[in-house]
């Protein structure tokens, strides 16, 4: 049973793609909740949990977001804006937490949400092509909190081909940088 669960997980990893065309159908609140639960399960430095999620499903607000987000393709019915509470990070973890770890944590939360979306049959795309100042104005995000990433989520209306990936031995070294990785299981 444990093996089966692992296989399912790796199938989710293997099959996930960035989706940029969506069906207009709404996403049930229960599924949105599961995405958010996945996001808050992500690793976080010092347990600071700097992430703040803004769930946008109001068509009018989505329309405003689209106007300031050139990377928002495909008319997704849901956007999750992953923000970092930089002030809180600074207070709890100092400058490195404010300037670096808060962004890393938000990226991990975004990754978890995208994987959860894939597991639920949804699709998503991680977007950074937006104007942060414009988004802060539209969504009334306070000072000290920064929108880091936007996740467009919806029911996929395309099946993108797998993009080329670098081979493991091109990106992995063994013990020291530059020493070729050899897969000892082969």
């Amino acid at each position: 049973m444990e093996g089966l669960a692992s296989l399912d997980f790796f199938e989710v990893l293997r099959s996930r793609r960035s989706i940029r065309k969506f069906k207009p159908d709404a996403i049930p609140g229960e599924l949105v909740e599961r995405l958010l639960e996945a996001g808050r399960s992500a690793p976080t430095a010092g347990n600071i949990q700097p992430w703040r999620f803004i769930v946008v499903d109001d068509p009018s607000t989505l329309g405003m977001i689209r106007k300031v987000s050139p990377g928002y393709f495909g008319g997704a019915p849901l956007a999750i804006i992953v923000c970092s509470d930089r002030d809180r990070s600074h207070e709890l973890g100092g400058v490195i937490a404010r300037d670096y770890l808060s962004i890393v944590d938000c990226a991990m939360a975004a990754g978890y949400i995208l994987l959860a979306a894939q597991a639920l049959g949804l699709g998503g795309c991680c977007i950074r092509s937006f104007s942060a100042p414009a988004l802060k104005e539209i969504l009334e995000i306070p000072g000290g909190v920064e929108p880091e990433l936007m996740l467009a989520i919806g029911w996929p209306d395309e099946q993108p081909v797998k993009p080329p990936k670098l081979e493991l031995d091109e990106i992995t070294y063994h013990n020291v940088y530059g020493e070729k990785w050899r897969n000892s299981f082969e």
Partner: protein, 104 residues
């Protein structure tokens, strides 16, 4: 939404898209500039449907469809994306010649 109101909404959306893209291009990868331009072209063709004095243009509509089907190439195959831009320019060149010949 009336046709006029929808046209005004799309015009505003395009204007905002261009302004935000201009700022984004300062920091983003340089190939995102061409991406924003052809995306704007696609949006412009869509917008033209709401301008009463502009008739339907099958060539431009075909161009819009091709852009929508190919713009995501930039994310995983930059060479193909550039080839797509080359083919788009060639198609415009041929269309320019065709229109010049068909003028009285």
């Amino acid at each position: 939404m009336s046709n006029s109101a929808e046209g005004e909404e799309r015009l505003f959306e395009l204007a905002s898209f261009l302004a935000v893209s201009a700022r984004g291009c300062v920091d983003e990868p340089h190939l995102y500039g061409p991406l924003r331009l052809i995306d704007a072209l696609s949006r412009l063709v869509e917008l033209s449907k709401h301008i009463p004095c502009v008739g339907s243009d099958p060539f431009l509509e075909e161009v819009r469809d091709r852009i929508e089907n190919n713009k995501a190439l930039i994310m995983h195959d930059k060479e193909k994306f550039i080839s797509f831009l080359d083919s788009l320019v060639l198609e415009f060149s041929r269309e320019i010649k065709r229109r010049a010949k068909s003028r009285p």
